[in-house]
């Protein structure tokens, strides 16, 4: 009896603290489910966050646990008053902690990319039959971009060369990673001067881990160089390989009208949610869910069919590629289970809360881990094997069907469905601005130069129970588009905006006049959804293309662009932020920032890097303030480019034509 009462008593405690879930999320369906969870007496990450204050020393990154003479804790209020046992200063400690975040983030994306490359190798070598090269055009363009000849060659020959070349992204010990060839020359020149062009991601992560071991690199500036090098090995390496190989194997996304939110769960169907990050298992799941045998199995127990949904970045991958509905972002994963309608949830890697096992158990949802890297205690592990890719999906479907036939939990499905346009790839952006014959970024640059578009902002990243879910994302983006800043999105952030209706073309009524006019011309929403968090590499390619098209300076740091991750929570986000900063982009984070203001390390991140020619970090928890940090930066870059003022249109004389290039 006592055990049964326990959850109730927790709820009573919460009531005592007067938790208002309205302060925790702006997502209607999540709110509805959080209230249901409260009524059901189920614990969740929002309540845990409310109850657990972040460790104050850790939050300031003033704690060092890298050896066993400590852990040492410094005083963030008076950061230079003390040093660690070994003498490490606040700058060394914070830089080392930051570096470990970067290393972990890079490792996550890089391992994801490597996984994709593993499949690609098996496809190229003919050892896997179920997957094949679907986008030959993309294969060729990726190959050409790194100097592989494609003319008059067999597709498989090109693919073999591409595999061999891309493998260097990970394993190379000397030289430059292949995609360094895509970096604008002047930006690359700066990296070379600073000695931060990545050699291979394994080497960079290894070196960063070594350098942050006790008693090695104890100069925050030098640590930061390796941080940048490692982060770049993610953005222009692991993540970019992941994106490009996914496009080659599963097709490059192009826009489609697709739906987001819990309203896409269907009461009369077997609902299966795939959560995590890699597209692979999901792609197999898509095939398996449409297999007539599986559908029959579902129908046999009275279901009308199998309803597949995605969440988090796995969901973002297939949302843009296949238009498969997305049930919600990171902070909605626990609540969605409370609908009682989720018959099975399969997960692969990254951002999978351990609590899901327990929540799933509460609502009778079958919960599966599928990746050998990510088991969870208490979860059923059904390993996904790429050589027999339908085994795990079939098993999951079978278990889901079984659960459907024995649904015990009360099913409450929120009605809300939010439609929007998803699936903007770099290739499609090129196409949409000029069709097959005039595809290029020129119109984007031209309308930035003429001021209709003020600049471009990437708003990306997670959601985090320490801030009101989706709120900062949505308010920030609204303020940006109102000021004629075109917004590109990935990951959980784009799901927040999709739910707010900003991925619809008619959202341009919220945009400034100039941006709205461009949106109307092209037929796009003012906010473009680009894919999962590894697809931040699409933003890198986009900024490189903007530099190449001309008129906006000769390096990424010249561009009137900025980035933000307003509700981030993962180490991957830190790594992404750092690769944007190292590439030349001003990047603003919300929630919290792991440095102490007034320290030399903090100053390096927030000012010093920019002085060296990189981008820099910014921080704000307020969406409007964050928007103006970004807008001011964009205006600063516009001024430097000499495009702040509306200039007289240039009329071309014969002499102008004579001196024209090309």
């Amino acid at each position: 009896m006592a055990d049964e009462k326990k959850p109730v008593s927790i709820v009573e405690e919460k009531k005592a603290k007067k938790i208002d879930y309205r302060d925790m999320t702006t997502c209607e369906t999540t709110l509805q489910m959080l209230r249901k969870m409260e009524a059901d007496g189920t614990d969740n990450s929002f309540t845990r966050a409310a109850e657990m204050k972040p460790c104050p020393i850790g939050a300031d990154s003033a704690c060092c646990k890298h050896c066993f003479m400590g852990p040492c804790r410094l005083n963030a209020k008076d950061p230079y008053s003390k040093v660690g046992v070994c003498g490490a200063t606040i700058d060394t400690i914070a830089a080392r902690n930051f570096a470990r975040n970067v290393a972990a983030g890079c490792a996550a994306h890089t391992d994801h990319g490597m996984g994709m490359l593993d499949i690609f190798r098996e496809v190229v070598n003919g050892k896997i039959e179920h997957f094949k090269i679907q986008d030959v055009k993309k294969l060729k363009s990726v190959a050409e971009s790194i100097g592989i000849a494609t003319e008059d060659r067999e597709v498989m020959d090109i693919a073999k060369d591409l595999y061999a070349e891309l493998e260097r992204t990970y394993t190379q010990v000397e030289g430059e990673i292949p995609f360094a060839k895509r970096v604008p020359p002047k930006t690359l020149e700066l990296w070379r001067k600073e000695g931060i062009v990545p050699r291979g991601s394994m080497r960079e992560i290894m070196e960063l881990m070594h350098r942050t071991h006790m008693g090695v690199d104890q100069d925050y500036d030098n640590i930061m160089k390796q941080c940048s090098r490692t982060a770049l090995a993610d953005g222009w390496g692991g993540s970019m390989v992941a994106t490009e190989i996914s496009d080659i194997l599963f097709g490059t996304p192009s826009p489609k009208v697709a739906g987001v939110n819990m309203g896409f769960l269907k009461k009369d169907q077997v609902n299966i949610i795939i959560h995590g990050h890699e597209p692979l298992m999901f792609e197999a799941m898509v095939v398996a869910a449409s297999d007539p045998a599986n559908i029959e199995r579902a129908k046999a127990v009275g279901a009308k069919g199998i309803n597949l949904l995605g969440m988090c970045c796995s969901g973002a991958e297939v949302l843009g590629r296949h238009g498969i509905p997305h049930a919600g972002n990171f902070m909605s994963v626990e609540p969605v289970i409370a609908t009682g309608a989720v018959d099975a949830m399969g997960v692969d890697v990254q951002c999978i809360m351990q609590s899901l096992v327990k929540v799933a158990d509460c609502y009778g949802t079958k919960f599966f881990t599928t990746n050998p890297r990510a088991h969870i205690e208490g979860a059923v592990h059904v390993e996904f094997h790429e050589h027999a890719p339908f085994d795990a999906p079939n098993q999951i479907i079978a278990m889901a069907v079984e659960r459907f036939s024995n649904r015990t939990a009360k099913v409450v499905i929120p009605s809300r469905q939010d439609w929007g346009v998803h699936g903007f790839s770099h290739e499609y952006v090129n196409y949409m601005l000029g069709g097959e014959y005039r595809a290029s970024y020129t119109p984007l640059n031209a309308n930035i130069i003429n001021g209709k578009i003020r600049g471009v902002a990437g708003v990306v990243g997670c959601t985090n129970p320490r801030v009101k879910q989706d709120y900062v994302h949505v308010e920030l983006v609204k303020e940006l588009i109102k000021n004629n800043v075109l917004v590109v999105q990935t990951g959980c952030s784009q799901i927040a905006l999709a739910k707010a209706g900003l991925l619809r073309p008619d959202a341009s009524v919220l945009a400034g006049e100039g941006l709205a006019e461009v949106c109307e011309t092209v037929g796009i929403p003012p906010v473009l959804s680009l894919g999962s968090c590894v697809d931040n590499s699409r933003i890198l390619i986009a900024v490189a293309e903007m530099v190449k098209m001309g008129g906006l300076g000769d390096k990424i740091s010249d561009l009137p662009v900025a980035g933000a991750a307003p509700e981030y929570m993962s180490e991957k986000a830190i790594c992404i932020g750092q690769y944007f900063v190292a590439s030349g982009v001003y990047t603003v984070f919300g929630v919290t920032f792991p440095t102490v203001q007034g320290t030399k390390f903090h100053d390096l991140l927030f000012n010093g890097l920019e002085e060296k020619g990189f981008g820099k970090w910014g921080f704000s928890t307020d969406p409007i303030e964050m928007a103006y940090l970004m807008i001011d930066h964009i205006d600063k870059k516009r001024a430097a480019l000499g495009i702040s003022e509306k200039s007289e249109r240039k009329l071309f004389s014969m002499d102008d034509r004579r001196t024209a290039e090309g």
């Binding site: 069709g435 014959y437 209709k452 008619d506």
Partner: protein, 739 residues
């Protein structure tokens, strides 16, 4: 609301493609797959299809893959799901391209179905119902293309539909003419077309007046785009199928735009979308949705509700074109567009020269204090003193003075008289020196033209174009019989002295040649270098012209080139020239020879008057002029040859040159000289007959002119060889031309 435009354009493209498919099927049934399909006299097949897709359509069946491509290009209709539409700009542009490609097939089928539908050549004959000219052939394209290259025509307006009245049509046309633009006309508005409105308003239409009536249907738009794309291939050296470069070339270098007059229907919208692929925006008089952001076009894409009086100015601004307008203090409209306009016999008020009376022109240097700038005197009877249809003798004497003026510049200024006078609307000028011929039309007289206006034109234009080389200029116009006879004597002795001086100039005695990169507006890697004995291949620039031009504009396209060390005197190769060429060609051309077509010949932009080619079997060379459209013994017509060597490429075995160059002493000197010449077209031979005879005498072969074969003797190497043997042509016994 671009979405509405996109919707209409896509609908229109579906219509156009479907109709083209229908036409194609009917034609296949009627004529069979092997029916030849072509536009007249062009080496560029169906030029839009050839340039964009790289497909050579030669017979009907070849059009099938083109139409399939059109079908594939058609995007999905804009049909929102859940009230959300997908991006449409890319699809709209594709549907526009599909429409244009399909229309080219339709127009080509029309040439088979109705061979007389279009009138061949530059002139129409509205009186006999021959209004529409259809596709410009390569002769027209090259001749007119040169004007686009040198800037005398800065662009073209493609006018679709009809103005509300003939008067408004005339107003718009004259505005463009004054701004030197061409007008390409197509389509109709309820059966009324802009071209026919101009005819009704008494305006002369045709290539000569830059008012070109292409066709009565919207599909005629394809002729304008085909003209533009051939210019890109002919002068820009862009390879067929390299659509990206072709279209960028058009956006950056061919300043064209569309004026849609009257209600815009879906098919017009599709054509407008097609033109946007070229970077050509649409400016409309009707109230259609606008597309104002920049990018695919340089500036706006669609601008609407433009009042007629602002149509030309707005269009030019939207396209981003800088136009220099010439204001001349005479009562007539003035500009190059009026150069080609004729004054017919019945319309003549006064005629001078033309074999009926004496007429001459002379420009002379004079002392500063002997010239009163701007003074124009008419000595003898003027317009007011004669009746309509009269004739008078005339002598025009222009006296110029200035610190920089040199005797060398006299002929340059004098030669300008022809086109400068011709630019006046209603005045016709033919010839030069003592064969000059003036016709002053009744319409011009009605507007108040007097003979003094000739002087005012010359004074104003000389100052405008040559102000840097003289300070003062006065004009005397003699019509008094005795004075004219006196002036004629003075002029003829001046011509003689002048000719002898220029004849005496040699390349050896000259240390500084001049470059000409005028054509880099269209052929970015082509560089001409002009020496006294090798005039410009376009025929428009000799060494003195370049020298004067450099004096006038020291940073302009004509730069002095110190020839430097002589590397090969026979082939004509100098270090200084090579260095200059390498730099000015943007590193595309390392070196070339002045006097050889076998070894590293000079490049051509594509504007050359003639092309010479080796005839190996005859051990000689042939040369063909641009006006000759027949086959040559090289197995290629002029236009194919030009397609092979144009665009600034060094092409051993072929070289472009001017007509005049043939009789210059250094002509092909490196390969054996004029004695190598075995074949030229008859019209060409006629044209240079006198000088050719003279050169034959100099060479010690007085009957050399008769040894050169023409098409009458043959158009194959075998035939030419047989002829050469029969006349004992010297080339047959010279050392092997290929070395």
């Amino acid at each position: 609301m671009s979405r509405l435009v996109a919707f209409a354009a896509i609908q229109g493209a579906y219509n156009i493609v479907a109709k083209a498919e229908g036409k194609f099927k009917q034609a296949m049934d009627k004529y069979g797959p092997n029916q030849p399909l072509a536009f007249p006299n062009t080496a560029y097949y169906l030029p839009v299809i050839y340039s964009i897709l790289g497909v050579k359509v030669e017979k009907l069946a070849d059009a099938e893959e083109v139409l399939k491509k059109c079908r594939d290009l058609l995007p999905k209709h804009i049909k929102p799901e859940h009230n959300i539409h997908l991006p449409y700009l890319g699809g709209t542009l594709d549907s526009g391209m599909a429409a244009i490609l399909a229309e080219e097939v339709v127009e080509a089928i029309r040439y088979v179905d109705t061979p007389d539908f279009y009138t061949l050549g530059e002139d129409c004959d509205p009186a006999n119902g021959k209004v529409w000219l259809g596709a410009a052939d390569d002769v027209i394209m090259r001749k007119r293309g040169v004007e686009f290259v040198d800037g005398s025509a800065p662009g073209f307006a493609a006018i679709v539909g009809a103005a509300p009245s003939p008067e408004i049509a005339k107003l718009i046309a004259e505005e463009y003419q004054k701004k030197n633009l061409y007008i390409f006309m197509c389509a109709n508005q309820n059966g009324t077309s802009f071209a026919e409105q101009l005819v009704e308003a008494g305006v002369e239409i045709g290539w000569g007046t830059r008012l070109v009536p292409f066709g009565p249907d919207i599909s005629g738009a394809v002729f304008a785009l085909g003209f533009a794309n051939r210019a890109a291939m002919a002068f820009g050296g862009v390879k067929p199928g390299d659509y990206q470069t072709i279209l960028k070339y058009n956006k950056d270098r061919i300043f064209a735009f569309v004026n849609a007059l009257g209600e815009v229907n879906a098919e017009w919208a599709a054509n407008a979308a097609g033109a946007i692929n070229w970077g050509f925006p649409t400016i409309a008089d009707s109230d259609i949705p606008e597309i104002l952001p920049y990018g695919v076009c340089t500036y706006e894409h669609v601008v609407s509700s433009v009042p007629y009086e602002q149509m030309t100015a707005k269009s030019i601004e939207v396209r981003g074109l800088k136009v220099n307008i010439t204001e001349i203090p005479i009562p007539l409209a003035y500009g190059p567009a009026f150069e080609g306009e004729r004054v017919r016999k019945d319309d003549v008020y006064l005629e001078c020269g033309g074999g009926k009376t004496h007429c001459c022109e002379l420009v002379k240097i004079a002392a500063m204090d002997a010239v009163e700038d701007g003074k124009v005197e008419v000595i003898g009877p003027d317009i007011k003193d004669v009746k309509p249809g009269s004739r008078l003798p005339m002598a025009v004497l222009v006296e110029v003075a200035g610190r920089k003026m040199q005797e060398d510049y006299e002929p340059i200024l004098e030669r300008q008289c022809h086109h400068l006078v011709n630019y006046a609307q209603g005045i016709m000028h033919i010839g030069q020196r003592d064969i000059a011929w003036y016709r002053i039309g009744k319409q011009a007289v009605e507007k108040g033209f007097t003979l003094g206006d000739i002087g005012r034109i010359l004074h104003a234009k000389y100052h405008q174009d040559f102000g840097a080389i003289f300070d003062k200029c006065q004009v005397k116009i003699f019509t008094d019989e005795a004075k004219v006879t006196e002036m004629l004597g003075v002029a003829r002795s001046a011509y003689k002295v002048r000719d002898e001086r220029i004849e005496g100039m040699t390349d050896e005695a000259c240390e500084t040649y001049y470059s000409c990169t005028l054509c880099q507006s269209f052929a970015p890697t082509h560089v001409c270098v002009i020496s006294p004995e090798r005039t410009g291949l376009c025929g428009a620039y000799n060494w003195l012209d370049c020298k004067a031009s450099n004096e006038i504009n020291p940073t302009g396209p004509n730069q002095p080139v110190v020839k430097g060390e002589t590397l090969d005197p026979k082939l004509g190769n100098w270090k200084g020239v090579n260095d200059f060429v390498f730099k000015a060609s943007r590193q595309a051309v390392e070196k070339y020879n002045f006097y050889s077509l076998v070894y590293d010949p000079m490049t051509t932009c594509g504007c050359c008057e003639c092309i010479a080619a080796v005839l190996p079997m005859c051990n000689g060379i042939m040369s063909v002029n641009r006006d000759y459209t027949g086959m040559t013994p090289s197995g290629m017509k002029f236009t194919t040859l030009a397609g092979t060597i144009g665009g600034g490429l060094v092409t051993p075995g072929f070289v472009g040159h001017s007509k005049y160059n043939v009789t210059q002493r250094k002509y092909m000197a490196g390969d054996g000289g004029l004695a190598r010449l075995v074949w030229i077209p008859k019209i060409f031979k006629e044209e240079i007959k006198d000088r050719l005879i003279k050169r034959g005498e100099e060479m010690g072969i007085p009957n050399f002119i008769d040894m050169i074969a023409t098409e009458e003797n043959g158009t194959t190497e075998d035939e030419v060889y047989a002829f050469l043997e029969s006349v004992g042509h010297p080339a047959l016994t010279m050392e092997s031309i290929l070395g």
